[in-house]
């Protein structure tokens, strides 16, 4: 088939040829296909699996994981009346174009090998569009996530978008069982779950949550619980993925060594671990971070699934802060911690604003519950970083349907203002 395609560049003929036949499947290991997760919406079916280090080495013939590159296999079957395009930046705004990745791994190889690698990477790459009636599969190269990956598949066609988000468990890495549990089975017994459909009652419940996270024995208060995320795998987490938020590695020795090295060298290390904080009697269910230029500039957040629901959607409570540098500390077993921006409200509003561009945010609101901490009398977190706050927690409600910026609504609750300007 590829010979025909190569010979006929006239696109119409190619289109006809491609209708009715699937595109070339990758030749080797099929394990990832057997564990692929599948979703269907309208006439579109998607299947996906994020490859382990071993799988990607087998499929690509080069150890991509060592370059922090992770292929995500995607298959799309289109039974609708129009062609769909897969958007790679939805999976990872910093994804690797196939040609760029092959150049990186091929540098230093012989010219013949460079050509061969280039060809292999191109052949394995996912190719747009997915024509009506066709099934297409291929890989998108993303930044490496260990344990699990939030795979966000955005498909667009004329005047229509289909979006899918799938939690893909990556075998071979140190599995994060807590996260899998949160997404895959109910954390709370049914009797404990309360679904709120009235905004005022929901607000009251959010305000009644504790002010702050704690240490393991629950005796010391840490960072403020200044964030409420309403939504789950289908709506909230796609928004995070689109804006470059990625799961963090759990804290363990190997990554601590990497982080220290990275902190010393000032290099970008998108994958530094976070230390555990506690809420609902357990450490965070999920920690996400958004790396900027280097390790000194990261925003990170921790989330706990609550027993609350809002119109049936999951409600997560959490904490967000902006790292402005690394420093040494005796209050963390790793001896390093992040210097956080003491204006934690800034980090909270930065997230709300970032999410406004995700096309999944539908409502924003602010509720009390953190308690004010004026700049003149800041509170300290568990690693003694001072912070101050207007005392509100930001509430972000996500939805599955793409929402333009102009359609984001506000809950008529508190108006968040910086402490600087509060009366």
């Amino acid at each position: 088939m590829s010979r025909i395609v190569g010979l006929v560049l006239g696109a119409v003929a190619v289109a006809l040829a491609l209708v009715g036949c699937t595109s070339m499947p990758p030749a080797m290991s099929l394990d990832y296909k057997t564990r692929a997760a599948t979703r269907t919406e309208g006439g579109v079916r998607v299947s996906t699996a994020a490859l382990s280090a071993d799988e990607s080495a087998t499929v690509y013939g080069v150890p991509l994981a060592k370059r922090s590159i992770q292929p995500v296999w995607i298959e799309i079957e289109n039974r609708e009346d129009r062609a769909y395009y897969l958007l790679s930046p939805g999976l990872d705004p910093n994804f690797f174009p196939a040609s760029e990745a092959s150049e990186t791994v091929a540098s230093g190889e012989s010219p013949d090998q460079q050509v061969e690698l280039g060809r292999r990477f191109r052949q394995l790459a996912f190719r747009n569009p997915v024509l009506p009636g066709a099934t297409t599969s291929g890989f998108v190269l993303t930044n490496l996530d260990e344990g699990f990956k939030l795979v966000q598949i955005d498909l667009v066609s004329s005047g229509r978008a289909r979006t899918f988000s799938i939690l893909s468990i990556v075998p071979g890495f140190r599995a994060d069982y807590r996260v899998t549990n949160v997404f895959r089975r109910e954390v709370y017994p049914p009797g404990e779950i309360r679904n709120y459909t009235d905004d005022a009652t929901f607000r009251t419940a959010l305000e009644a949550l504790p002010c702050c996270v704690t240490n393991q024995d629950g005796l010391k208060n840490g960072d403020p619980l200044n964030l409420v995320v309403v939504g789950g795998l289908d709506d909230a987490f796609p928004a995070f993925a689109r804006r470059g938020w990625r799961p963090t590695e759990q804290k363990w020795s190997g990554s601590i060594i990497k982080m220290v090295t990275s902190a010393l060298a000032g290099e970008r290390y998108p994958y530094a671990p976070v230390s555990d904080l506690y809420m609902f009697g357990r450490a965070q269910d999920l920690a996400l971070q958004k790396a900027r230029d280097n390790i000194h500039q990261r925003n990170h957040l921790r989330l706990w699934l609550s027993p609350m629901r809002y119109h049936g959607k999951q409600v997560w409570v959490g904490q967000i802060s902006r790292d402005i540098g690394s420093r040494l500390t005796i209050h963390s077993p790793t001896l390093t911690t992040h210097k956080i921006d003491p204006d934690v409200d800034e980090a909270r509003s930065a997230l709300a604003q970032d999410m406004a561009y995700s096309q999944n945010l539908t409502r924003i609101g602010y509720v009390k519950g953190v308690g004010t901490a004026p700049k003149s009398a800041p509170r300290g977190n568990l690693t003694t970083d001072p912070y101050y706050t207007d005392g509100f927690r930001g509430v972000l409600v996500f939805d599955h349907q793409p929402t333009s910026l102009a359609a984001v609504e506000f809950f008529p609750w508190e108006v968040a203002r910086s402490t600087e300007e509060s009366p």
Partner: protein
């Protein structure tokens, strides 16, 4: 388990880190010695903003007035007691007047997805072991930083800290209200580039008589397909890079979409050698990828064409061999052969900009197969399907499901043929 970096490299970076620490320590020591002799940071006196206001660029719409100016190094010293421009930050003074009945929020990621928080900038000028002075620095920066929200009837001014842009700052201001967005795009001259700074991002313009204004899409497509395939060199001779994309829209809308996806103005010497319509590019942008590495570039030329009164730009989109992994500041950028890939990824990026209204493919570049690649200036070779991606950008914030695909030239990403592979061996 995640593998550790290979030892030699790790050792090198640890060594580099230690050297840096040592350097920092020496620097800190020198600062402390300096402190003993002279004063450290001093809160500046009241800042006189008359000059700033006089050169601010202003605009109004939907009951909101904005004025904005880029702070010069001198402004920065007067306002912050230090030149924060030196820390790789550009400070923008903004004043917003809200005459709507709703509060407004300035969305900072709309101005720069990687903006800096005030205390982050303040932290960069902290002095080691000077706790009180540092607290005063923080207070000062917080006081001057722009603060949300802007309540109904209120006028509010403050500073936004974003990544630097030379010559002309494209300042995107996205104001969120309850169920609505009021976007502004301003072009601000950068004061320290005084001789060449300008408030118009593009100095070139055509006399009206030279401009063909198309009223319908079919005529526009025909006009676009007649435009030159490629740039040339300064003498109009050798073939340059292919002109493989088109932007149609008002300049502010195009600029806003690009800013939201981290494209920044960044012309390098190599760009000037590409000529179209007898001149070098009107604007050159580079995508700020991970770790600040500029990768994909776009060179734009205003075309003597309009569509329903809107500007049409002829664009080269490409990326250098090596992509993001080219060392920063490398001079010898070479066009990567797969120009269609760069073009297709630009389209995908623009889908997330909230500004893409329509998309169509026109011919005009002419196909060049991998077995018979074309050669461009400097000897790089490229292959292409010969299509020109035409992107129509609009003001209204749009979602992924709003993009209309025009029924123009059909487009497919084609896999390699065996012939193509053999030819390269």
């Amino acid at each position: 388990m995640s593998p550790l970096p290979p030892l030699p490299k790790a050792s090198r970076s640890v060594l580099r880190g230690l050297l840096r620490l040592l350097g920092n320590a020496l620097y800190a020591a020198s600062l402390l010695l300096g402190v003993a002799g002279c004063a450290t940071w001093q809160a500046p006196g009241t800042f006189n903003d008359t000059e700033l206001r006089s050169r601010a660029v202003a605009a109004s719409r939907q009951g909101v007035s904005v004025a904005a100016a880029v702070l010069s190094a001198e402004d920065s010293r007067h306002m912050f007691g230090a030149d924060v421009n030196k820390t790789g930050v550009q400070s923008i003074w903004i004043e917003l007047q809200n005459q709507t009945p709703e509060p407004l929020w300035l969305l900072r990621p709309g101005s720069d997805p990687d903006y800096f928080s005030p205390l982050e900038v303040a932290w960069s000028i902290h002095t080691p072991l000077a706790r009180d002075a540092n607290a005063r620095i923080d207070d000062h920066f917080n006081r001057l930083a722009f603060q949300n929200p802007i309540l109904p009837g209120e006028t509010r001014a403050g500073v936004l800290f974003i990544n630097p842009e030379r010559l002309t700052r494209v300042l995107n201001i996205d104001l969120l209200q309850r169920k609505g967005l009021i976007p502004f795009t301003l072009f601000l001259p950068v004061p320290d580039d005084a001789a060449v700074a300008r408030s118009r991002p593009i100095s070139f313009s055509y006399p009206d008589a030279d401009i063909a204004d198309y009223k319908d899409l079919a005529a526009l497509r025909a006009g676009l397909e007649r435009l030159p395939c490629c740039a040339s060199d300064a003498h109009g001779a050798a073939g340059g890079d292919p002109l493989n994309a088109i932007f149609v829209g008002e300049l502010p809308d195009i600029a806003a979409a690009l800013v939201r996806r981290s494209y920044r103005r960044d012309a390098q010497a190599v760009d000037a050698s590409q000529h179209v319509f007898g001149r070098g590019p009107d604007v050159v942008l580079r995508k700020q990828a991970q770790a600040g590495a500029p990768s994909t570039w776009m060179r734009l030329w205003l075309a003597p064409i309009r569509f329903e009164g809107r500007a049409v730009f002829l664009v080269q989109v490409g990326r250098p061999v090596g992509g993001r992994f080219v060392p920063r500041g490398a001079k010898d950028v070479v066009l990567h052969e797969d120009v269609d890939e760069a073009r297709n990824l630009l389209i995908q990026d623009m889908m997330y900009s909230g500004g893409l209204d329509k998309l169509g493919f026109a011919t005009g570049v002419g196909p060049a197969s991998p077995t018979q690649p074309r050669t461009t200036l400097g000897g790089a070779r490229y292959h292409t399907d010969g299509l020109r991606a035409t992107l129509f950008l609009a003001t209204r914030p749009l979602s992924l499901s709003d993009v209309e695909f025009l029924d123009w030239a059909p487009y497919l990403e084609v896999p390699d043929s065996p012939a193509r592979n053999e030819s390269r061996r």
